[in-house]
């Protein structure tokens, strides 16, 4: 089986002695939508930097779409698109020229490149800005420009490092739809994000990296299945009179309660208890992102190890 990304025993120790990666293994299947999560400094960007040829590994093997990074770097680069965390284009160049240059670096002729540039700039709502200098764009537009640039050679694997950092909610949703569309067309996507809601909504598989080691690598469903309890907040009619009970109900404010749903319990039982106290439930929501709870649990365990 050819993986979109296969990493074996990858290590990276920087010149100052900091071991950013301590021998990680990772496999991402073709067509997957994969999240690499971890706290700041965990090794996410180092991993993606090595795959993107921006960081030299200390040891280990990396292959992208079956091509070995050490011996077939050109082929790796041709099947890979990269959207880095930091803006890394010339701010004084025009939007159109930035994407056109990238197409040129991949050896696309003008006749091949121009329709693609138009296609991706239009899809990412940048066509009207094509003659603007990059520095004139808003933060969200700059991120979309980097996505258009990374897609112009139509890579098989797209890596996005914090693609929606600093992007407003509405635009973030639009970008999610765009990425889901790209993924549905066959492009494997790997992203890092601090918005765990993003990983939960988009990704089928998730790896969590902490202190340079992979502490979890499984499907999003399995990962969420590790949750032993979920805390919910309910908005009710009238003043909350219920505390304790089977679900340890706690008053949040004059119209809200929160309770813990343990693994094996069902929500209907909680609603029944509320109904017995004549509380009508107006709305219910998880108190925190469910993935966030697993994430915090795994990362804190790794920190203590």
């Amino acid at each position: 089986m050819t993986y979109a990304l296969e990493i074996k025993e990858l290590r990276k120790t920087y010149g100052n002695g900091f071991a950013a990666l301590k021998g990680i293994d990772l496999k991402v299947e073709q067509g997957d939508f994969f999240a690499l999560l971890g706290p700041n400094g965990a090794g996410k960007s180092t991993t993606l930097g090595i795959v993107s040829s921006l960081v030299n590994p200390s040891s280990g093997q990396v292959s992208v779409n079956g091509f070995d990074l050490n011996t077939q770097r050109t082929q790796v680069k041709r099947t890979l698109g990269v959207v880095p965390q930091e803006f890394n284009f010339n701010f004084f160049e025009k939007v159109y020229d930035i994407v056109k240059q990238q197409a040129g670096y991949y050896g696309l002729s003008v006749s091949e490149a121009e329709p693609r540039i138009e296609k991706y700039l239009k899809k990412l709502d940048l066509w009207d800005k094509r003659n603007n200098q990059a520095r004139e764009l808003s933060g969200g537009m700059k991120r979309r420009l980097m996505i258009a640039r990374a897609l112009v050679h139509e890579p098989k694997l797209l890596i996005l490092d914090e693609p929606t950092a600093g992007v407003d909610i509405e635009l973030r949703r639009t970008m999610w739809e765009f990425l889901q569309d790209i993924n549905a067309q066959g492009t494997t996507i790997i992203l890092t994000t601090h918005y765990l809601e993003e990983a939960e909504s988009l990704c089928r598989n998730i790896a969590i990296i902490s202190n340079g080691e992979i502490v979890a690598n499984t499907s999003a469903k399995d990962l969420l299945g590790q949750l032993n309890k979920t805390t919910f907040v309910v908005d009710i009619n009238g003043k909350p009179e219920l505390t304790g009970g089977n679900f340890n109900f706690r008053k949040v404010d004059e119209h809200s309660l929160e309770f813990d749903l343990e693994k094996g319990q069902v929500l209907n039982e909680a609603f029944s208890e509320l109904a017995e106290k004549n509380h009508q439930v107006i709305s219910i929501r998880p108190k925190t992102n469910r993935l966030e709870e697993v994430f915090v649990d795994l990362v804190s365990t790794s920190d203590q190890a």
Binding site: G66, F67, T74, N88, G104, Y106, R149
Partner: protein, 267 residues
């Protein structure tokens, strides 16, 4: 054999050529866009040289190596502008790309290192020759130029631009702040150029200083170029060719070593 290995993902002559052309076009567009910083200053500086050293002071100096002083200094001044602009173009452009991280666009793309290097060098040569042409045209207002040997003129000015573009590239690779790209031009290139026979024939110097001057590579380039225009030189021009080709080969090797190692580019 993977699904993707059935399709060619290798570079070809055509893809390398497109990548090279893209870098050169970007570099030329850059120095034309900021012409007030790149093209205008050397034009003004050289006109001042022509007026002050050529006309005002030169008229009192008389002849140098059998030519009036203005005609003698013009080849050196053209060469001086080519050297500083070829060097400055590559050092400032490549360092700016590092500083803004836009160099990563090239590093993630399948562009061979030699294509990256020669793309930037070609951009430096283009600016050096463009400025050289401007200075040459301006000089025609002050003196008439002859062509003694067109082959020597064209090859020497192009080779010199290549050598100093390569030098500018090395400077940019090692630079970690903007100050670092101005240190070499200020403290090395300018003194060597002024002492490289731009304004005088080294035959005017005492023996000791003549020998010291022979260690200055710019002396050979200026004199060989002057030979192409006027037919006079303090040095053997074939030796100048040999030396400049050795410099080109050595600097190219150095640049490719730095790029392959990722010095200043990859952590």
């Amino acid at each position: 054999m993977t699904e993707y290995q059935n399709k060619s993902y290798s570079n070809s002559v055509a893809t390398n050529w497109i990548a090279f052309y893209t870098i050169v076009e970007k570099e030329i567009r850059r120095f034309l866009r900021i012409w007030a910083q790149t093209l205008l200053p050397p034009a003004i500086t050289m006109v001042l040289y022509f007026i002050i050293f050529g006309n005002l002071i030169g008229s009192r100096i008389g002849e140098m190596d059998g030519y009036d002083y203005m005609a003698f200094i013009v080849p050196g001044l053209i060469m001086m502008s080519v050297i500083t602009n070829a060097y400055g173009n590559v050092s400032s452009s490549f360092y700016s790309n590092k500083f803004q991280r836009s160099v990563e666009e090239l590093m993630v793309a399948p562009v061979p290192n030699w294509v990256i290097l020669w793309g930037y060098v070609a951009g430096g040569v283009a600016r050096g020759l463009f400025v050289g042409l401007i200075v040459t045209l301006l000089s025609l207002y002050f003196t008439s130029l002859q062509v003694h040997n067109l082959f020597v003129i064209v090859t020497m000015i192009t080779f010199t631009a290549i050598v100093f573009s390569l030098g500018g590239f090395i400077n940019a690779v090692y630079a970690t702040k903007f100050d670092d790209v101005s240190i070499i031009p200020t403290f090395v290139l300018t003194p060597l150029t002024y002492l490289g026979g731009v304004f005088y024939s080294i035959s005017l110097l005492p023996d000791f200083w003549q020998h010291v001057s022979m260690a200055n590579p710019i002396l050979y380039m200026v004199n060989a170029f002057r030979y192409g225009i006027l037919g006079v030189s303090d040095i053997n021009i074939w030796f100048a060719y040999g030396m400049i080709l050795v410099f080109m080969a050595a600097l190219t090797g150095w640049c490719l070593y730095l790029l392959n190692k990722g010095v200043g580019l990859r952590s």
